[in-house]
Symmetry: C2
């Protein structure tokens, strides 16, 4: 059974000790689920949800209740998008095979994807999950540099496998990090007095981490950075602040791995890729490696590692690479359809337009609800902090808001190291009307909570 | 470009130095592929194949040539099986979401899958790939035992991620193994005089490896064993030989991880799971962990780690587990349809019947072709060794046979440490007529090669 050792405190997850309070059908299903899946799985919400159908930004439960999805970034072009579903259906009924045979559509897709990247990023390798993409990026970085040292941010999440959990302090805790990993602070511009100095401040921390590795006799291999720092608390701004970091990484002989699993594929609105925000006219930001995942196939398990060609040279000489399902025919069909829809429906543009207005609306709510703290983000990746009356981070309020929004049939997540901010990250077809509904719901919940 | 450092010797892969000899359209596609995917990918065959359609045991190329598939084990219930394709199509058009919401079909599938396992295996966790399943099994084993030492066979392959490549000597070589891995010999019964002593002989090697770990101060965590030893050369027999190994593992406080990614889901004919061959009446063989992958969704990326409930206890207390795509709604639909077809079409029974007859036919070919060595295997997982006139392993002949069969439009792979055996591992709907065609083709190729 689940985790009786954990303290009872506030949570946005289901607590197994409340099992008997669920209605009978749900109680039986949850009990069977715990019996079959074991103790390591969690369910969202104090009263877990069972969805049976989705479309666009909407999800429906078994008993017909309609929810607005402000949380799920995987079905990025919309739940059960008909074009993606049709591409998957057609290919699954025709052929699903692997990369050791020729497949013109795999090559077409690889070229299409690379055409969205800046010059200098020339190869793409296909995996099934973001974890596998980050794992491959680290293997390539270690092979290319001969180093093993990795630098990540304080509350980074890069994936769930052994190697990648090792560089994910949000999952394993600082105490769980291996000797070859160093952390730098959450890149929160409020930590410096002058925002113009923030990039240098953050770069100095990265240099310090590299020096600390060197002092321990560990050669620097890579900085791995989520371009929107999603689990650290969503920090896309100020645009450009990563440019000095990029230089520090190169100067120290390491590789810059841009983890675009969450920010990529247009979510940040202004740019297709999150790292692009940190370039300047005439000085594009070009990582050594870029990793892609979640939204790439709108739910089909497909992910990728993109790289400067030189990075793969040594690896390719010593090692064949084969991933059974990575780049299979159906994965390619799903990814191509998703990319086509993203462009044809201008969802990046939608993320920019709707996201900007939405962010303004959330900011305006503060006039009536002073316990709303900072609202930040880019495009349709937003964070909204919640504060106590004394202006301290308020995790309990944040989790009450998450569960309160659920009662208003709106889905949302949490972020920040202290779990005190809403993480708003809907499908990219989120409309102005969806944003209005979200804002009205949040207004109502905060009023109900007296906040 | 590809690997110019590798010696020119015989190969069943495409050699990039022969690029200009391909017909123009294929040459251009291969060149674009190398440009886009980089140097680490390989293509099967001296003249690579491009398939555009599949059905049952058949694949068709772009120019209409029909191939018999004697190689691909992922589309286990048949290429593009209509029931699996329909289940994927329906679910993809309805909803694809994750395990943090309730999903009755996920629970139904988990229970159904567990019902095929022996008593004592009570939980299943869903991942996307066999590599992820083995990674999770190792994390669970290390967490449950407090140890880190792992024992594998001489030419094992368990997956492609950093952690799992580390326990895959067939991928990284013996020199590439980390300090916490020990290897035991390929379990080839020909290494002992008395087959009845083989289990004890192999168990003694496992004990020796555990002792060697202990002497280095490394606590034993797990033996990881492919139940058919596919990359070692296909060694299912003598049935029962793993029972003493199971005991040695338990006696030393480690866990037995049965890697069923290749042998599982009925392929070996007599049993649903490869490890079951090694039980006896009244003494079933029960691993601590079982990993599943390739055929589980007939090509859809879905995999799993099954376990004794106690194994997950400590892990579940300290760690939440979430895999974005693992156990998503479409993966569950694909896996359930695959399991239903496997049963409804009695493909395990087909593997037993067709595989037994097929193996006899291959054995009989030796009368006309004395360079055929041992033919072994179970169900539809067979190996056929090729030998020189002096009865030595003959890799060159084996690779010529692979390419010769391709000219006869039959697909097959290779195995054994020395790459001198055909690996025959077709979709489980392989028929007697398919076997006849394979045997006729092999007869013809060996005749052409004067072997």
């Amino acid at each position: 059974m689940s985790d009786p050792s954990r303290p009872p405190g506030p949570t946005s997850y289901f607590d197994v000790r409340t099992l008997d309070s669920l209605e009978p059908r749900k109680r039986d299903l949850v009990r069977r689920r715990i019996d079959a899946l074991g103790p390591a799985y969690r369910l969202f919400y104090r009263d877990p949800l069972e969805f049976v159908r989705g479309s666009g930004t909407r999800l429906w439960t078994a008993d017909g209740a309609e929810y607005l999805d402000g949380y799920n970034n995987v079905p990025s072009v919309g739940h059960a998008h008909p074009r993606v579903a049709a591409a998957i259906a057609e290919q699954a009924a025709t052929l699903s095979t692997h990369t050791r045979y020729l497949d013109a559509r795999l090559v077409d897709y690889a070229e299409d994807l690379l055409s969205t990247m800046p010059d200098g990023l020339g190869h793409v390798m296909l995996t099934c999950t973001g974890s596998e993409a980050n794992d491959l990026a680290l293997r390539l970085a270690k092979s290319a540099t001969g180093g093993t040292g990795v630098v990540v941010t304080r509350n980074a999440y890069h994936g769930v496998s052994t190697e990648i959990a090792s560089i994910s302090p949000s999952l394993v805790g600082l105490a769980g990090l291996p000797s070859w990993v160093r952390v730098v602070p959450v890149p929160d511009v409020r930590q410096v007095d002058d925002p113009a100095s923030f990039g240098e401040w953050f770069a100095a921390h990265v240099q310090g981490a590299i020096d600390d590795l060197a002092a321990a006799g560990i050669r620097f291999a890579a900085l791995v950075a989520d371009s929107v720092f999603a689990s650290d608390g969503v920090f896309p701004d100020p645009a450009g602040f990563l440019a000095p970091v990029r230089e520090v990484v190169a100067r120290n002989g390491g590789l810059y791995v841009a983890d675009e699993v969450q920010p990529g594929f247009g979510r940040l609105g202004e740019t297709m890729w999150g790292f692009e925000r940190h370039g300047a006219p005439g000085a594009p930001f070009v990582p050594d490696l870029v990793t892609l995942g979640k939204p790439m196939g709108n739910g089909y398990p497909v992910a990728a590692t993109v790289m400067r060609p030189g990075v793969a040279e040594r690896f390719g000489q010593g090692m064949r690479y084969f991933n059974t399902f990575g780049g299979n025919s159906v994965a390619v069909a799903a990814a191509q359809a998703t990319l086509d829809v993203l462009r044809d429906e201008d969802l990046q543009g939608n993320a920019l337009r709707v996201g900007s207005r939405f962010r303004g609306q959330l900011d305006d709510l503060r006039a009536d609800h002073p316990r709303i703290g900072e609202v930040r983000g880019a495009g349709l990746f937003l964070a909204l902090e919640l504060r106590t009356l004394d202006d301290e981070p308020d995790e309990a309020l944040c989790l009450d808001v998450v569960n309160g929004l659920e009662r208003h049939r709106i889905l949302v997540g949490t972020t920040n190291v202290g779990n005190d901010a809403l993480k708003i990250r809907p499908p990219l077809c989120f409309s102005d009307a969806d944003a209005d509904r979200f804002v009205e719901g949040l207004d109502a919940v905060l009023t109900e909570l007296g906040a």
